[in-house]
């Protein structure tokens, strides 16, 4: 009888502690997610995607080949019930050979609804729907952003119920107060995710991820994300530079945001297939957005 009491007490206390830790981690990630949504609310960003193979030597990370560089303009707004869905468009500005190629994405918070992505292929003169993956379907995986190492899963917001969270450690990291949070997908999500586990270094004051490391099902680190140039823009902290390193292929992509503007007036009609096929319509709306950009 005493043994059962002792066992129950130990189990209960361990469970309470774990639950409290999980609740704190979940609360923190909800705040980070809310902050991330604020950066996508009526946002217009000019960014550069640079991709290369890399090596590490003498404590430095260096490209071992001439990087491929794309300059994009993206517009995004939150839509739908409770602004949980989002519509976004990305248009290639450079290289000139790919100028005008566009990608339109509708992301739905409801995991029962397929996300949708279309590309405009100027050489063929047509819009092409992409099999962009549905996070609720088995065998579904994420889509690369214009051939870079950054995938839609790396940039995803919401779907917090698809993961369990725990805080591994707290302290200072590169001069910032951080909580190191482990994120593990629930079985339904694990079946469709690229990652079996993600460990994130969360700035607990600015509510952004400073660093993240992703692991495969064999617990091997497969990808790493790191940010720099953290700035407060329109009252929201965000990183102007994000680098994703694929530790399997040794390729990295740096996303550098040259111009950012939040709370710009975006006509929802702009975030439609018309912006892909009607270049005059697209340029007219982009000019309006460029005029509002810092």
């Amino acid at each position: 009888m005493n043994f059962l009491k002792i066992l129950a007490a130990v189990t209960t206390s361990a469970l309470l502690a774990t639950t409290a830790c999980a609740d704190e981690a979940r609360d923190l990630m909800e705040q980070v997610d809310d902050n991330s949504r604020m950066t996508s609310e009526s946002a217009f960003i000019k960014m550069q995607l640079s991709t290369c193979k890399f090596s590490v030597a003498d404590g430095k990370i260096r490209c071992t080949e001439k990087p491929r560089i794309k300059v994009l303009e993206t517009a995004q707004m939150n839509t739908g019930p409770d602004k949980k869905d989002s519509k976004s468009i990305a248009i290639v500005l450079e290289p000139a050979a790919e100028r005008g190629i566009g990608m339109l994405s509708y992301i739905y918070d409801d995991s029962d609804k397929d996300n949708e992505t279309w590309l405009y292929l100027s050489a063929l003169g047509k819009v092409k729907r992409m099999a962009s993956g549905n996070s609720n379907d088995e065998d579904s995986e994420s889509t690369s952003l214009f051939g870079s190492e950054i995938t839609t899963e790396d940039r995803e917001t919401g779907k917090l119920d698809d993961y369990t969270y725990s805080i591994l450690q707290k302290g200072d990291y590169q001069g910032r107060p951080v909580a190191i949070v482990q994120q593990v997908p629930i079985p339904k999500r694990a079946a469709v995710s690229d990652y079996a586990k993600t460990i994130s270094w969360i700035d607990t004051e600015r509510l952004i991820t400073l660093k993240a490391q992703m692991y495969d099902k064999n617990d091997k680190a497969v990808k790493r994300m790191q940010v720099s140039q953290v700035e407060e823009i329109n009252g929201v902290w965000m990183a102007r530079s994000l680098t994703v390193m694929n530790l399997v292929t040794n390729r990295l992509t740096n996303m550098s945001m040259d111009a950012i503007s939040f709370d710009v007036a975006i006509d929802e009609a702009f975030l439609s297939q018309r912006a892909l096929t009607d270049a005059a319509f697209r340029e007219k709306h982009l000019d309006v957005l460029r005029a509002q950009t810092q």
């Binding site: 361990a14 640079s50 001439k66 560089i69 000139a96 003169g125 680098t243 009607d278 340029e283």
Partner: protein
């Protein structure tokens, strides 16, 4: 007893903490920088900013391409071409947009595929794209030289028939300009779109290198498309009048013919997770072949074209695709077996039976980066008189350099009209430098 329970709770908390701490594989303090951490001063955007090309080349595209084509049966080069290309696109005013893409090509002396004498150096200038687009309210209008894509199945010829095929006598299915002079308009509704085009001077596949004159075309081409989006799916209806992109040939009279025909069709896709399913169906009425009654007369008949395709995103950036398609000919009585000359122009093959079929397999990684792409295409008539297999490999070394290799092989029965093409292998290699 209470003290014991408090102690045990403490043990439980400690056990819990140890459990959490051992739930990851990092033995070091996670707060310490590791050798792959970098600070803002070491950030990559500084490095990459220096890699950008000069400002002029960021908006003005420029490329130079060298192409070599070799024929096994002729044991000689049949094409050697150097092409320089420039392009620009941008808004002219809030409602006007201009895009142009022009190239100049020099063809060096080689043994032509269809002749024995050597040609001299030649040059040509091509406008690949030149259009202005105007947008007001829900309407957009576009006039100039450009491509329009119809249907879901690229390359199957079911509905993607508006643009003339490239110069297939060069043996390179991806070479050349494939737009034409068009006027088109679109009306954008909520979740639907109506578009149409018109051209008074339809362009056809260039067969001049084979020594055949271009046919006289008397009818214009026009078409209408009504498209709508249903969650996870796009559906389009088509109607139009077209002229066959590849003229039919008659070696006896060295004549060509390209008459107009009517088309009705439907195309649809459906995305399910990482799968995309596609289908095109078209009925073409009024197509022509030479009649048995007289070599120079053509007979009208109908054909139903259809195809299905599937694409799969295997992992990030990797795509697999497969397409099968068929053509069902109707009312073939009284049609002569007019010879089809070009072994590399599948639509020109006169059917020995009343059905043709083909299949394509595609693989690529990094969909827009073209790091590596591969296409395998098989086509031929179902009698087995000839089966053609073509493959294309593309590889982009970096933003500036890329290469492509096309191989086409044919196997033909010795007693068929295609006997001369048995065992032929055409190889076309191109290397391209671009900004």
């Amino acid at each position: 007893m209470n003290t014991a329970i408090v102690t045990l709770l403490g043990v439980g908390l400690l056990a819990s903490s140890l459990s959490i701490a051992s739930n990851h594989d990092m033995t070091d303090d996670l707060l310490l920088d590791d050798d792959m951490d970098f600070l803002a001063a070491d950030a990559f955007e500084v490095v990459f900013a220096a890699e950008k090309p000069p400002s002029l080349l960021r908006t003005l595209g420029f490329s130079v391409q060298e192409t070599l084509g070799w024929s096994k049966n002729n044991a000689a080069l049949f094409t050697h071409q150097t092409t320089a290309n420039a392009k620009w696109a941008g808004g002219l005013s809030p409602s006007w947009y201009l895009e142009w893409d022009a190239s100049a090509a020099a063809q060096w002396p080689v043994t032509p595929l269809m002749a024995t004498s050597e040609t001299s150096t030649a040059s040509e200038f091509n406008i690949n794209t030149l259009y202005v687009q105007y947008s007001v309210g829900p309407i957009s209008a576009k006039v100039g030289h450009y491509s329009i894509g119809w249907g879901e199945l690229e390359g199957a010829g079911v509905l993607d028939i508006i643009n003339p095929a490239p110069d297939l006598t060069q043996g390179n299915p991806s070479a050349g300009d494939n737009g034409q002079w068009l006027a088109s308009g679109r009306f954008y509704g909520d979740q639907w779109e109506l578009s149409g085009f018109y051209t008074i001077d339809p362009e056809l596949t260039d067969m001049s290198a084979a020594g055949f004159p271009a046919p006289t075309i008397e009818d214009p081409e026009w078409g209408l498309r009504l498209g709508t989006q249903i969650s996870g799916s796009d559906v389009s209806l088509y109607v139009g009048q077209f002229v066959e992109d590849t003229p039919i040939l008659d070696l006896m009279t060295t004549s060509t013919a390209a008459n107009s025909y009517a088309l009705v069709g439907i195309a649809a896709n459906k995305a399910v997770g990482n799968w995309l399913f596609k289908t095109d169906i078209a009925k073409k009425s009024g197509l022509s072949l030479y009649s048995n009654a007289a070599p120079t007369l053509t007979k009208s008949f109908d054909r139903v074209d259809y195809g299905v395709g599937v694409e799969y995103n295997a992992t990030s950036g990797q795509q697999y695709g497969a397409t099968v398609y068929g053509r069902q000919w109707r009312d073939m009585d009284g049609v002569s077996g007019a010879l089809a000359l070009s072994m590399i122009a599948p639509p020109a093959i006169t059917p020995a039976m009343d059905m043709e079929a083909g299949a394509m397999l595609r693989f690529s990684d990094s969909y827009l980066n073209d790091d590596l792409s591969f296409t395998l295409m098989s086509t031929g008539d179902l009698s087995g008189a000839m089966v053609m297999l073509s493959t294309a490999w593309g590889y982009r070394v970096n933003d500036q350099w890329s290469g492509e290799l096309n191989l086409t092989t044919a196997k033909a029965n010795a007693d068929s009209m295609y006997a001369a093409f048995d065992g032929e292998v055409l190889a076309v290699f191109s290397v391209k430098w671009q900004y």
